[in-house]
């Protein structure tokens, strides 16, 4: 009799723990979502009144009501275009080599491990590397060029890893049929593998560039934290960028500058969200076309 009771109580206790555990896990999930909502709501409330065309079209200023993000926005556009120019061919090329050309050797494993680890190196370390390499050794100073080269180093491992993932998803039968028709390796890659993996590569590229757009630490390390009252016009010009401008405004004690920072963040987030939307769109639209 008592053993029957035992089973009954443990069963009930089990049910209660089960319920408790489920609700704790659910609570954790809801907390994550709520945090996101609260954080973004906070930024919108703080920044929305300061967002105007003047804000986008004015140069930075000591006076909060006159300050704008023109030079920062253009600096960011310069940086991101140059970074894309450098990092996309390099990254996709490296991925192609590793996936399509490299023999499955220890050497390939070493490069692979190295790239995985490079992706985890803090971006400020790349900033120090840029400072030592581009700013000092190559004498590029705190120019747009050295900023973009530094950002290239930051995003390169991410682009390589994403492109490899995309290339790996192309089935081997495609390559074999191309070879069977007498295609060379490069023809196989260029006419068959690359077009098939392009949506995946594009998604990876856009996501890593949006990460580069938000980076401030490596740029500050290469010395981009100056007052820049002009739009950069050539590679050797000094520059500022949106995240740096946000950093400067946030680190000021006055309240108005915090509102300016919030408005700047809104601009940055709008750009980032639209980039992500483009990435999702590309994946959906062109991902469907290819069917094996």
């Amino acid at each position: 009799m008592s053993s029957k009771l035992d089973i009954y109580t443990t069963k009930r206790r089990g049910r209660i723990t089960n319920m408790l555990f489920t609700s704790v896990c659910f609570l954790a999930t809801i907390t994550c979502v709520l945090m996101l909502v609260v954080l973004i709501w906070n930024i919108i409330v703080q920044g929305k009144d300061w967002l105007s065309w003047d804000f986008i079209d004015h140069l930075p200023s000591r006076f909060a009501h006159k300050a704008g993000i023109k030079s920062a926005l253009w600096g960011s556009i310069w940086l991101i275009s140059l970074t894309a120019l450098f990092s996309v061919p390099l990254g996709v090329g490296a991925a192609l080599y590793l996936e399509e050309y490299a023999p499955r050797s220890r050497w390939r494993k070493l490069i692979q491990l190295n790239i995985a680890n490079l992706a985890g190196v803090p971006s400020i370390v790349y900033g120090i590397l840029g400072l030592g390499l581009f700013v000092r050794a190559l004498q590029l100073k705190g120019s747009v060029l050295s900023g973009a080269l530094t950002l290239t180093l930051v995003v390169l491992p991410i682009i390589i890893l994403a492109s490899q993932e995309a290339l790996r998803s192309v089935p081997d039968s495609i390559r074999r049929s191309a070879y069977a028709l007498g295609a060379t390796r490069w023809q196989t890659v260029w006419y068959q593998v690359l077009p098939a993996s392009l949506p995946g590569i594009m998604t990876g590229v856009i996501l890593s560039l949006s990460r580069a757009l938000g980076e401030a630490a490596p740029l500050i390390a290469v010395g981009a934290l100056a007052y820049v009252p002009f739009v950069p016009e050539k590679l050797s010009d000094e520059f500022t960028a949106l995240p740096i401008q946000i950093f400067i405004w946030t680190s000021r004690p006055q309240e108005e500058f915090h509102h300016l920072a919030a408005a700047g963040i809104l601009v940055l987030l709008v750009v980032l969200v639209s980039m992500n939307a483009i990435a999702i769109f590309v994946r959906h639209k062109y991902g469907k076309k290819i069917r094996w």
């Binding site: 070493l110 007498g182 963040i265």
Partner: protein, 330 residues
């Protein structure tokens, strides 16, 4: 690019049927000739070499990091003894009298890393378990993209939120806290690394084979018992690896801690005080006009080297664990 009479041209066409049609045509089965054809091995070799160079750049970057950091650090250690650097309890390279003990920076970094782990690990693990084991596919499809947004927010934005939003709340609860305090840095960095923990841990949980769950249910276990006694232990090593990666990210995190934690290198475990991390120190020096070639200037390379080594070790361990996940089911 391709000479007209060659069978390669057919590959341009989309779809294999067109290619087959072209090939069966008699003219393309003739022995190919022409300049293009004889140059083909050379051309292919060039491409092979170019791509090889692209891949080698990753090795060069690593070599570059190590060389630059070591070169400047070695010069730094001519002026400052390595023992003082590793054991000194005061860090004030920019003020007279100068002290070069990295322990306060290390302590600040570890305080932020531990604090953010305290915030992120329970919430992250709970969310990962919920999404992987309990949530309906539809719920997961809504929540996962939202968490991706959280992951895509730049770190300077978290710094802003720490100062404008989190720090006032902390000061309201603990009036003794300063405007710049480690606690607000811990909280925002914790939120920052959350998506990483969730997505990695969820992948690991999903990779536990269904047969294990089915077997446990067949033995009469309920959902809680299956999750906690079967799935979690099976996924434990991978989950720990995801924690390691996230904590390594927290150690290297820069903008949020620079803004939130202040610039006071201090040996303290009190999260309400202002501290300084290794990354924040590098930013502080980069902001100023420290002349190149001086000891003060070289400190950032020495600190950068310490940071690089710390995160590298954690990443290598995590990668090693992750590469072995899944082996134990085979």
């Amino acid at each position: 690019m391709v000479d007209g009479s060659n069978p390669e041209q057919s590959l341009k066409m989309e779809g294999s049927e067109a290619a087959v049609l072209q090939l069966s045509h008699s003219s393309s089965l003739e022995k190919p000739g022409g300049l293009w054809y004889s140059l083909r091995p050379f051309y292919e070799g060039c491409i092979h070499f170019t791509l090889f160079v692209c891949a080698s750049i990753s090795i060069l970057v690593t070599v570059g990091i190590v060389v630059v950091l070591l070169y400047e650090s070695v010069q730094f250690f001519y002026d400052v003894s390595i023992i003082e650097f590793l054991t000194g309890t005061r860090w004030s390279p920019l003020l007279k009298p100068q002290h070069f003990g990295i322990l306060p920076l290390l302590c600040g970094t570890m305080l932020v890393a531990a604090g953010s782990a305290v915030v992120a690990v329970p919430i992250g693990l709970g969310t990962a378990i919920y999404l992987s084991e309990y949530a309906s596919p539809r719920f997961r499809d809504i929540v996962k993209p939202m968490l991706e947004i959280l992951a895509g927010i730049p770190s300077v934005v978290y710094g802003y939120l720490a100062i404008v939003f989190v720090s006032p709340i902390i000061r309201y609860i603990f009036p003794s806290a300063g405007v710049f305090n480690a606690a607000s840095a811990c909280i925002v960095v914790g939120i920052m690394i959350l998506p990483m923990i969730i997505s990695l841990s969820e992948d690991i949980l999903q990779s536990v084979p269904l047969s294990l769950r089915a077997a446990a249910f067949a033995l009469g276990a309920n959902k809680f018992e299956v999750t906690v006694r079967v799935i979690l232990p099976a996924a434990l090593s991978g989950i720990i690896a995801s924690f390691l990666l996230a904590i390594s990210r927290a150690i290297g995190e820069t903008m949020a801690v620079t803004l939130a934690a202040g610039a006071t290198p201090k040996l303290t475990l009190n999260p309400l005080e202002s501290i300084q991390t290794m990354t924040a120190y590098i930013v502080q020096v980069s902001q100023g006009d420290t002349p190149t070639g001086t000891v003060e200037y070289r400190t950032i390379f020495a600190v950068g080297l310490s940071l690089f080594i710390t995160t590298m070790i954690m990443n290598v361990i995590a990668q090693y664990i992750l590469s072995r996940v899944g082996e134990n089911y085979e």
